[in-house]
């Protein structure tokens, strides 16, 4: 055990995989941020918005004004380039992590597992010495250069990727996914116009094959990426799998992020070749680093111990947090208690229609809210089946109408939700006064339990 820890954690190993990872991650975040800006999503997410839904514990986080939001995105683009080229690397990584995470925290309706992944990776990037080779920083100051880094600085990324795939895989072991081939039985026929493979999607059999293959792929790919003999094949399957899903579904840059991230499992030879290739593209001269001249990074015993404790906590959290759902009663897909931050990706087809009723105590009249007045289509879609967001919206409505002179005594909601092609049913009691409830980590006993057929 001790030997294994020494080997996987403290041993000095070649820096190349880390440097490639830095370059590819910087490029991916740059493209992702640029795509976000060009799609006009800055306006949609942050400017033309009447209400933001907050993460539990981050209710205090304000939405900054328009100028700040634009500035943040410009800074994120610059920071991505800083990461890519290893320029002012530590600051670039920290700025990117803080700003990116801020943008995600401002409105929970835009939560995506891959944004969470980018936040986690960029936080880890703040710690690792990924700029110690092939970087502007070393070119400016050759004494920063290194050829070796502690093994943990590469293995943390590999471990994080294994966590992502593995939990995405075990999440797929459920009745609907494996036995009913849902939601793929809905999603595949909707994509039957794709060239070359589209015709396959009209068959139920295809949905079953994709469901089972997807589950087995997610569970096992981490293992096969670790094994040297299967690595190349596993990575090619990764490419195939993500290209297919990226082609079929509207999932943005996620496939690209995963395809380039998983390259970190490859060994030194491959990465040296990759780095020389990058070098040829930008015609940058490699600064020769002689190892003897410099002391390696993170060698002080206290620093080593602190970092080890930090990442031990990190990965304990990564393993336990996705499992928190077992502490809640009821069907996870219905209540969504413990659903987020658990790598449950593209797992269910769920939609709802939520109608809110506001009672004014002065007149005793109950009015029906037109959601389109306050919410954009994306927010309304997310709100319509997520109990915690329903509560937040009820509070927003109370504030909104009280500012306009009403005395709001009750907000209730009729929320009909369909899950994986089942007829829609009430998610919460339609008589419940939502103003009497507060969100917490406790089980939400006001959700009507989901009975399977």
């Amino acid at each position: 055990m001790k030997g294994w820890i020494q080997h996987a954690w403290f041993k000095q190993i070649d820096i190349a995989p880390l440097v490639s990872f830095r370059i590819l991650f910087g490029a991916a975040t740059f493209i992702s941020t640029l795509r976000f800006c060009l799609s006009g999503w800055i306006g949609e997410h942050f400017i033309h918005t009447h209400v933001q839904f907050k993460y539990f514990g981050f209710e205090w986080l304000p939405l900054l004004s328009q100028q700040w939001i634009y500035l943040i995105h410009i800074l994120m683009l610059l920071a991505s380039l800083g990461i890519l080229f290893g320029a002012f690397y530590r600051w670039s990584a920290i700025i990117f992590f803080v700003l990116f995470t801020y943008c995600e925290l401002v409105d929970i309706t835009y939560y995506l597992n891959h944004y969470y992944f980018v936040s986690l990776v960029s936080l880890m990037m703040c710690i690792v010495p990924a700029n110690a080779a092939y970087s502007v920083d070393v070119w400016r100051k050759p004494s920063l250069g290194q050829t070796l880094v502690p093994a943990w600085s590469i293995n943390i990324f590999r471990a994080q990727l294994i966590v992502v795939y593995f939990f995405a895989g075990i999440a797929k072991i459920n009745y609907d996914w494996l036995i009913r081939a849902l939601p793929l039985k809905i999603w595949l026929p909707a994509n039957d116009t794709l060239p070359v493979i589209g015709w396959l999607f009209q068959y139920d059999a295809t949905a079953y094959v994709f469901s089972w293959a997807g589950m087995l792929f997610d569970i096992s790919v981490g293992y096969f990426l670790c094994k040297k003999e299967t690595r190349l094949w596993a990575w090619l399957v990764v490419v195939f799998f993500h290209l297919i899903t990226g082609w079929m579904f509207q999932i943005g840059v996620f496939p690209m992020v995963m395809i380039v991230s998983t390259l970190i499992f490859f060994g030194n030879t491959f990465h040296h070749r990759l780095l020389r290739f990058f070098q040829r593209i930008i015609r940058m001269k490699q600064v020769e680093v002689s190892e003897q001249n410099h002391t390696p990074y993170y060698q002080k015993p206290l620093v080593k111990a602190a970092l080890t404790a930090f990442f031990a906590t990190w990965f304990t959290f990564q393993v336990l947090f996705p499992l928190r759902y077992v502490l809640y009663p009821g069907n996870l897909y219905w209540t969504e208690e413990g659903y987020r931050f658990s790598w449950r990706v593209m797992l269910m087809e769920k939609a709802g229609t939520a109608t809110f009723y506001v009672t004014d105590a002065t007149t005793g009249k109950e009015g029906v809210v037109d959601n389109a007045q306050f919410l954009n289509p994306h927010q309304e879609k997310q709100l319509s089946f997520q109990p915690d967001l329903i509560l937040q919206y009820a509070q927003f409505l109370k504030t909104y109408y009280e500012e306009r002179g009403a005395v709001v005594s009750k907000v209730r909601a009729e929320v009909y939700v369909t899950l994986n092609a089942r007829p829609s049913r009430l998610l919460i009691s339609d008589q419940q006064n939502l103003l009497e409830l507060t969100d917490s980590w406790q089980h939400k006993n006001w959700i009507i339990p989901f009975e399977t057929e």
């Binding site: 809905i186 026929p189 909707a190 059999a205 994709f210 087809e349 769920k350 007149t363 037109d370």
Partner: protein
């Protein structure tokens, strides 16, 4: 593990996949193929193109009748113009819900429905523009023009027909304003109607379900039109918005002519025709219903939707004849029942339908895999 072993594992997974599907096929032998092109074709040729084309020609008739009226304001000419307006407003109900493609918002121009059919029309603004001799329409007061401004100009309540005609005899700019409103409506309809001939082919060819596909455009506008029927034709006049303290009977669609009930019924018929895939002339074809028949859970949704559609139809049938604004003040419950039934139907048209069909409704990225 070797390469061979991983290939084996993959083959095993494929076998398990097929095994699972075979056992399922025994109970449920359908393949999920549906010809979305046939549906789009029915919508284009059966509903959209005829609705725009007929609206456009009725608007042309209205133009002639209005021209005749302002040339020689008299009771006969007024009645003829009113009849022409009524026919145009009725057929427009079948065209008002297709605000994509040629009828979409573009730049400063709003969607066709907003440009020519905003209601309630503002009596005050209309009179102001007439007094200012301004028929340019170069302003954002869309409630001062269009179909429902003509409703006011031809049917103004509270005065006799003779008094209404007298206004035209004394105000030259009232004549110009009425003509300008009519011209704008006719021009808007004609332009969209003509563009559809060219747009038709790409509409039918773009037969995916992603954002930007014809199905997605059509479905989103169908839903918007439905929400408009529920919220604007009933909800607001009934005072059902939070913060509304009284009913607003003057906010009905066609307050002055008093055809609001019939117009709403006409739009309601159109919504059902879309869902059932029935053409404007009554020919049955392929619509959302047939699409639902081809997907998981579709038959259940068809049954549930039909039940609620029938309840909604009954509430429409129970609406007393006469002006909707009077029904709202005198028999509130009858009008409110329509709103309630429409509200109950919403989820069957909205989340249930789009979820089963897998139609994408927002531009935002989903969660990757």
């Amino acid at each position: 593990m070797t390469i061979k072993a991983s290939i084996k594992l993959f083959l095993i997974s494929v076998c398990i996949g097929f095994g699972a599907c075979q056992s399922d096929d025994k109970e449920d032998n359908q393949t999920q193929s549906f010809d979305r092109k046939a549906m789009l074709q029915q919508y284009a040729d059966g509903l959209i193109i005829p609705a725009y084309s007929q609206s456009s020609s009725k608007a042309e008739v209205l133009r002639l009748k209005v021209a005749a009226f302002i040339a020689n304001p008299g009771i006969i000419q007024l009645e003829e113009a009113r009849t022409a307006w009524k026919q145009m407003a009725f057929i427009w109900q079948h065209a008002s819900g297709f605000n994509f493609g040629p009828a979409a918002e573009a730049g400063l121009k709003k969607s066709l429905n907003e440009e020519i059919a905003t209601f309630p029309a503002s009596k005050t603004k209309i009179e102001q523009y007439i007094n200012a001799a301004d028929t340019s329409f170069s302003n954002f007061d869309r409630d001062s023009r269009g179909i429902y401004a003509i409703d006011f100009l031809l049917f103004e309540t509270g005065i006799t027909d003779q008094a209404l005609i007298e206004k035209y005899n004394h105000q030259i700019w009232r004549k110009h304003y009425l003509m300008a409103c009519t011209n704008t409506v006719a021009a808007g309809l004609q332009s969209v109607s003509m563009q559809w001939t060219a747009y038709r082919e790409s509409f039918i060819a773009n037969n995916g379900t992603d954002i930007g596909s014809s199905v997605s455009y059509f479905y989103n506008e169908f839903l918007k039109s439905y929400e408009g029927l529920k919220n604007y034709k009933f909800g607001i006049p009934l005072g059902r918005r939070p913060g509304q303290t009284t009913v607003l009977p003057e906010n009905v669609e066609a307050y002055h002519s008093g055809y609001s009930t019939d117009l709403a019924k006409e739009q309601w018929n159109c919504m059902q025709q879309i869902w059932e895939g029935i053409a404007l002339d009554g020919t049955n074809g392929t619509g959302f219903k047939e699409y639902l028949q081809s997907v998981e859970g579709g038959e259940d949704l068809i049954t549930l939707t039909r039940q609620q559609t029938s309840n909604t139809q009954q509430s429409f049938n129970a609406l007393p004849a006469g002006k909707l604004s009077d029904v709202i003040t005198q028999q509130f419950d009858k009008a409110d029942a329509v709103h309630t039934e429409l509200q109950k139907l919403t989820r069957f048209y909205k989340s249930d339908l789009s979820s089963l069909l897998g139609i994408t409704i927002t531009f935002n990225s989903g969660d990757g895999d």
